[in-house]
C-alpha cells in the first residue's frame, strides 16, 4: 500500500491504539496484488479492530478505479461520542492520492453501529464536496463492538 498515515498528537494515548488499528488493517490487506474490495463486509472486517477504541476515530480509505485501497488515513480522533472531521483535510488526502472513490469508516465506542443524525449530516456535507471533484462515495461504514453498519447496504448513500 502506498500510504498508511496516522495523524495524531504524540502526547495522546489514543494514537497508540489507532496506530495498532492501522497496522492490523495493513497486515490484513497489504498483499500483492492488492485485492479489489468487493463488499462493505470486507472493509468492515479490515477495520474491525477500530471497533474497540474508546473514542471516535474517522478513517478515510481512498480507492482506485478498480476498487483497490490506495491507503488508510486517520482523519480525526474525537471524544467518546463524536469526532469532528475537517473536510478540507479529507479532500487533500483524496486529491493527493488521486482517488477515484472513497470509503469512510468510523467507530462508535458505544458498541452500537446504528448511524446518528450527526453521522448522516456529516456524510451529506462530505458527499457534496466529493461531487465537486467527481469522486465516488463507495460506502460509509460504522464499526462497533456489536456489529457494523453500511450506508450502501442500507441504501442511504
Amino acid at each position: 500500500m502506498d500510504q498508511w498515515v496516522t495523524v495524531f498528537d504524540p502526547k495522546d494515548e489514543a494514537p497508540k491504539l489507532l496506530r495498532r488499528v492501522v497496522v492490523l488493517a495493513q497486515r490484513r490487506y497489504d498483499k500483492r496484488p492488492r485485492p479489489a474490495i468487493r463488499s462493505w463486509r470486507e472493509l468492515a472486517s479490515l477495520m474491525e479492530p477500530g471497533a474497540n477504541l474508546d473514542r471516535e476515530a474517522f478513517w478515510v480509505l481512498p480507492m482506485d478505479a478498480s476498487n483497490r485501497l490506495i491507503g488508510l488515513y486517520v482523519a480525526n480522533i474525537g471524544t467518546a461520542t463524536s469526532a469532528v472531521v475537517d473536510i478540507p483535510a479529507v479532500l487533500r488526502v483524496l486529491l493527493a492520492t488521486q482517488a477515484a472513490s472513497v470509503t469512510f469508516v468510523h467507530n462508535h465506542p458505544s458498541g452500537h453501529s446504528a448511524p446518528s443524525p450527526e453521522d448522516s449530516g456529516l456524510l451529506r456535507r462530505l458527499k457534496s464536496a466529493l461531487d465537486l471533484f467527481e469522486i465516488d462515495l463507495f460506502d460509509n461504514v460504522i464499526v462497533g463492538q456489536n456489529g457494523a453498519f453500511s450506508y450502501a447496504e442500507a441504501r442511504m448513500l
Binding site: 479532500l91 487533500r92 486529491l95 493527493a96 492520492t97 456535507r125 457534496s128 464536496a129 465537486l132
Partner: protein, 168 residues
C-alpha cells in the same frame, strides 16, 4: 463609505515582491491541473484590502487571464496562478479549489477579466451573470470548508472588488 470586509486590518500595505522562480507547476503534487498556467509563484505579505489584491494581481497575473491567489490563515499568499479558461467553468472551479486545498491554504481570492471592470469601478452596476458566477464560486469554496475572500473584476483600465461593492 466604510464597507464590511473580512480582510484583516493591518498597518502595512502589501509589499509586492519581484516575481521569483520557481514557476507554478502544471502539476501540483500528484494532481495534474487542467487550467493552471505557468507563471510566477508569488508568496508574500498579508493581503489586507482589495488594493493589495489588485497589486498582487498586477505583479503576478498573466494578461487577460483569470488569476487565483491562495491564502493561509494570516491572509498571506502561499500560491498564485493564472488560469486559462476555455469555457468550462467546472474545470476552472475544480482546479481553483484543488490548488487552494493542496497548497495548504484556507482561503483564496479570484480575479476575473471583465470588459466592464473599469466602468463598474466608476459606478456602473455589475451584471447578474457575473454576480451569479461569483456566488457559485464562493458557495463551492464554502462547501469544501474554504473561504473565497473576494472576487475581483479587472480589465486594462481598472479593477473592482465585488466584496467592496457589497455584492459578494
Amino acid at each position: 463609505m466604510i464597507t464590511p470586509t473580512p480582510y484583516e486590518e493591518v498597518g502595512e500595505r502589501l509589499m509586492v515582491p519581484n516575481p521569483p522562480d520557481p514557476l507554478v507547476p502544471h502539476k501540483l503534487g500528484p494532481l495534474e491541473l487542467r487550467t493552471a498556467v505557468e507563471g510566477p509563484l508569488v508568496t508574500g505579505r498579508r493581503i489586507a484590502s482589495s488594493r493589495d489584491v489588485a497589486a498582487l494581481m498586477r505583479s503576478s497575473a498573466l494578461p487577460g487571464l483569470p488569476f487565483l491567489a491562495c491564502l493561509n490563515a494570516k491572509n498571506e499568499p502561499v500560491l498564485t496562478s493564472s488560469l486559462h479558461h476555455d469555457g468550462s467553468t467546472e474545470e476552472l472551479l475544480q482546479d481553483a479549489i484543488a490548488m487552494t486545498l493542496l497548497s495548504g491554504a484556507v482561503a483564496a481570492v479570484f480575479c476575473s477579466p471583465h470588459p466592464d471592470a473599469h466602468d463598474i469601478e466608476m459606478g456602473s452596476e455589475v451584471d447578474g451573470e457575473t454576480i451569479g458566477d461569483a456566488m457559485q464560486m464562493r458557495e463551492a469554496f464554502e462547501l469544501v470548508g474554504l473561504r473565497m475572500l473576494d472576487v475581483m473584476l479587472f480589465n486594462e483600465d481598472g479593477h473592482s472588488s465585488l466584496l467592496d461593492l457589497m455584492v459578494l
